[in-house]
Structure formats: C-alpha cells, structure tokens
Amino acid sequence: MKIFEPEIVAFCCHYCAYTAADMAGSKRISYPANVKIIRVPCTGKVDAIHIMKAFEKGADGVYVAGCLQGDCHFKNGNTRAKYRVEQVQIILGDLGWEKQRVAMINMSAGMGERFARTALEFTQTIKQLGPSPIKITHTDINQQAIRF
C-alpha cells in the first residue's frame, strides 16, 4: 500500500519564518519535504483566497508562518493573517472539512529548530487527517472507472 505523503503549502514571512527555514538549513536540521514554502513579504499579504486556491489546487494542508505576536515588521500583518486563517477555518468547517488543515504559526527568524519542529508536527497532523477530501473523491472516481 502506498504511504500517504501530504502536500503542504507554507506561506512564510520573509522577515521571520523564511529566515528561520534558512536557519534550520544552516544548522543541518531536517524537516519533511512535504512542506512547500512560499515566501511572502509579510503574512499580512496572505489573503484567504490564496489559502483557498492552495486547497483547490490539491494541497492537503496549508499553514501561514509569521512573526511572533507584536513583532511584525509591518506592525500588525501577522494579526491580520491570523484572522484570515480563522476565516478559512470557518469556511472549511462549513464545507465539512477538518479545520486543522489550515493553521497560523508564529516564530522569530532565529527559531530554526521551531520551524523544523512545526513543519514536522503539521505534517504529522495532516497525515493523521488523511488526504484532502478532493483527492479522496478523485481516487474514488478513478477506482469506480477501473471497476466498470
């Protein structure tokens, strides 16, 4: 049986999480290759539609990694991002999806270990949840096609 390897999109702030990912690399700390990083100038730039489009295109989980509370380079971008993540969680809940598929994570640029640890933890969470409901349906359709 093929092991489920989730596709995870991480929107990472240039000033913290993205640098933390760099830090993890410099320290030779490995994190799951499932996490695909998208660098953004600030998590405040991440809109609900970007997260939704990631799911539409097949992501199994999405997280937004921004600066620690109160430390946003642009004052309150990370707070805005938090509200947008909550908005998407509500939409996913309405659609019958698991809300844990989207999360907001905070870290500073020096937290290489935390970046790697959260990437691992989030990947494990998504592995437990299983593939995105879209993929399940596609697989079901393919299996049905084979059966007939």
């Binding site: 809109d47 609900a48 539609i49 939704m52 489009k53 799911f55 539409e56 939409i91 309405d94 659609l95 019958g96 999806w97 409901p133 879209i134 349906t137 596609h138 079901d140 359709i141």
Partner: protein, 222 residues
C-alpha cells in the same frame, strides 16, 4: 451605504446544487465596501463552491463577474454575452441588485448569496452600524444629527423611554440610547430648546407604509 452579509454556505449550496453552469455576480458598490459581495468575496465564494463540488466529484463551471453597479439596468446588460452559457445566476449584491438581474434575465433562475441587512455607516474598520431607515422625511435637522427613527429601538420621537440607563439602551449594554445622544448633542450646540418642542406623530406613509416607494425625476427621464 447598504450593508449585507454572506448567507450560510449550506443555503447557497441548496440553491445552486441542481445546476452545472453558474454565473457568480458581484457588485462594485455598497457590498464591496462592506466586504460582502465585491470582487474579492466573489473569488472566495467561488473557491469555496469549487472545493465543495470537487469533494462530491462534480465539476461545476462557475463564471466570476463583478458588475460596476448591479442595481442599474445599464450594467446588468453586461451579462448578456454569458447568459446563454449558464444555467443559473448567483448574485452577491443587495436585494436591489438581485431583483434587477432577475427582472432583466427572467428566463434564468437568480439566487441571492447575501442577506441584505440595513443602511449603515462604518464605525471603524470591519464594524458597521445602522444609521438610517429611509423614512422619507428626515428629522436629523431637529435632532442634532442623530436619528431617533433608526437608532432608538422604539423609534420614539419625543425623548427617551424608561429603558434608558446611563446613556445606554435596555436592549443591550453596548447600544447607545439615541435620545441621550441627541440631548448631549443639542446641549453641546446650545440648542436645548429644540428638545422641548413636541414632535407630532410621524407620517409613516413616506417610510413605506403607503406601499412601495418610487422617485420620478422628469428632468432626468428619457
């Protein structure tokens, strides 16, 4: 501005689930300002609908269009080129916009995606409050710029009721008593005498009591 809020997704899905080709129409006016049915919200709702249909193994074509002003027949015409290729229209405009589209394209089912709420103003980012009920006979000149028709829970015209307490209304601790606000404002303006004037019973025919209202401007008519 007219304010609105998106309907629950389940209700929207119930409306459109029988159809395979849908136009999702937003409006660039009031619903854009109150973040209920502008271009951005159209994109977000379309995305949520796509996710739902993909989950059920369906591919539904959703065309996203945002009109300049949906309550204007002139802009409603912009859907003509798409209408033959659609099974239903889902409108994110206020009730005026939905009805304009329904009247123009009466051969297609038109569904609302938002609940139209009230005529309000933005108090701060993300918060809107009701300020006007369109009563057709504005009293703001007498009441210090604060409307008792829209902002007093009982629409009282001659001072507060017994439910006022420390400047707040009895219906909720965060709702101002409109008549307290009026009194403070008149006092600040040195117009306390206005408060003493008894207002006669209001003629609510102008507020819609006489049936649907209409404005006819002959100078503007074609």
């Amino acid at each position: 501005m007219i304010t609105a809020e998106q309907k629950p997704l389940n209700e929207i899905l119930d409306y459109i689930s029988p159809y395979d080709r849908i136009i999702l129409v937003g409006c660039n006016e009031c619903v854009t300002v109150c973040a209920a049915g502008g271009r951005k919200e159209v994109g977000l709702l379309a995305s949520a609908l796509h996710l739902n249909f993909l989950k059920h193994g369906r591919t539904v074509e959703i065309k996203e269009i945002t009109l300049e002003r949906q309550c204007d027949p002139e802009y409603a015409e912009e859907l003509v080129s798409e209408i033959d290729r659609t099974d239903a229209i889902l409108s994110m405009a206020c009730g005026c916009g939905v009805q304009t589209i329904a009247a123009r394209y009466n051969e297609k089912p038109v569904f609302p995606a938002v609940n139209t709420k009230f005529m309000g103003a933005s108090v701060s980012q993300g918060i809107w409050e009701e300020k006007c009920q369109g009563c057709g006979d504005c009293l703001l000149g007498i009441t210090g710029g604060i409307c008792p028709v829209a902002r007093c829970s009982k629409h009282l015209l001659n001072g507060p009721c017994g439910g006022t307490s420390k400047g707040m209304c009895e219906i909720a601790p965060d709702v101002d008593c409109a008549w307290c606000l009026i009194w403070e404002r008149l006092k600040a303006l040195g117009m306390e005498k206005r408060y003493e004037e008894i207002m006669e019973a209001k003629d609510f025919r102008a507020a819609g009591g006489g049936g649907p209202r209409r404005i006819i401007r002959k100078d503007l008519s074609l």
